[in-house]
């Protein structure tokens, strides 16, 4: 892990899960009234926890790794698919969570229910376990593919 890293991506998933609970410190009515903001935030945070966990693993092997500044979401997702396989749970979860995140962050219409938000968070937690279980060799492959996809995208 890079020495300057202060953000633990898994903690984002913890925050996401707790967005879906009531706490003694927040007025019940106030918390209930912002349910859509909480469920959408949880779905979005779930996605980011996984994306950042992958980035963190890559940076742990190469602290100077040069991620693309534009299109990093698609680049990382494609790289994971090409290195681990498109049938891998991690790749499919990144696609699903990305789709959920786009809706949660940008759509003003439609809802993200409490149950579906919980299920997205659970998927993120499962995917985080998957990221934790990657070998260094897996992560190196992902890093190589990220660079390859980055070059492809710059050329196109």
């Amino acid at each position: 892990v890079p020495t300057e890293a202060v953000l633990d991506p898994a903690s984002i998933a913890t925050v996401a899960d707790n967005l879906l609970r009531f706490t003694d410190d927040i007025a019940v009515d106030e918390w209930a009234e912002c349910e859509q903001a909480r469920t959408r935030s949880a779905a979005s945070r779930g996605y980011y926890s996984v994306l950042l966990a992958v980035k963190r693993r890559v940076l742990a092997l190469d602290p100077d790794f040069d991620f693309p500044t534009r299109g990093v979401h698609g680049t990382v997702r494609i790289a994971v698919g090409r290195s681990l396989g498109e049938r891998s749970f991690l790749f499919q979860s990144l696609r699903i969570l990305w789709d959920a995140r786009v809706h949660a962050d940008y759509d003003l219409v439609g809802t993200v229910s409490l149950k579906s938000a919980e299920d997205y968070v659970d998927r993120a937690l499962d995917a985080l376990s998957g990221v934790g279980g990657l070998t260094d060799a897996d992560v190196r492959k992902i890093a190589q593919k990220i660079l390859a996809v980055k070059v492809e995208r710059e050329r196109s």
Binding site: E86, F89, Q92, D99, K115, S116, D119, Y120, D126
Partner: protein, 134 residues
């Protein structure tokens, strides 16, 4: 369907086949004489230039797996096209299921079955999402 949506509800009976869905895509929903439990909603499957029959085959496979793993799954699908050159089939499944932990386990089984059953091309085309229904 280009220019319009088709919605239908199916009840207990037989498996919905690609042929049934194809009938719907040609707006002949009345030819679907038999049914299966659950609710299946098709939204704009196969927009202009899309391979509707390919999408129908994906939906048939996903629906069959969902029905094996879950009770009374509801399916909704749509073609998402953010980029003129790129689109994907979003298949969203809502399952009437209360318990979060047991659903999570079932969802893992479902993910595995989907991964094993769809072809590479189908997996690339579709994003299959399953969550609990409200």
């Amino acid at each position: 369907v280009p220019g319009g949506d088709i919605f239908f509800t199916v009840a207990a009976g037989r498996v919905v086949t690609p042929h049934d869905i194809q009938d719907l895509l040609t707006a002949r929903a009345e030819t679907l004489g038999a049914h299966r439990y659950g609710e299946l909603t098709l939204v704009n499957v196969g927009g202009e230039g899309e391979d509707a029959s390919g999408d129908a085959e994906i939906l048939q496979t996903v629906f069959a797996i969902a029905s094996d793993v879950f009770d009374n799954p509801g399916i909704e699908s749509s073609v998402i096209q953010d980029d003129p050159d790129d689109s994907y089939l979003r298949v969203s499944i809502a399952v009437p299921h209360e318990d979060r932990a047991s659903f999570r386990q079932r969802r893992r089984e479902f993910d595995l079955a989907i991964s094993r059953s769809l072809t590479d091309e189908q997996l690339n085309r579709a994003i299959v999402i399953v969550t609990r229904a409200d």
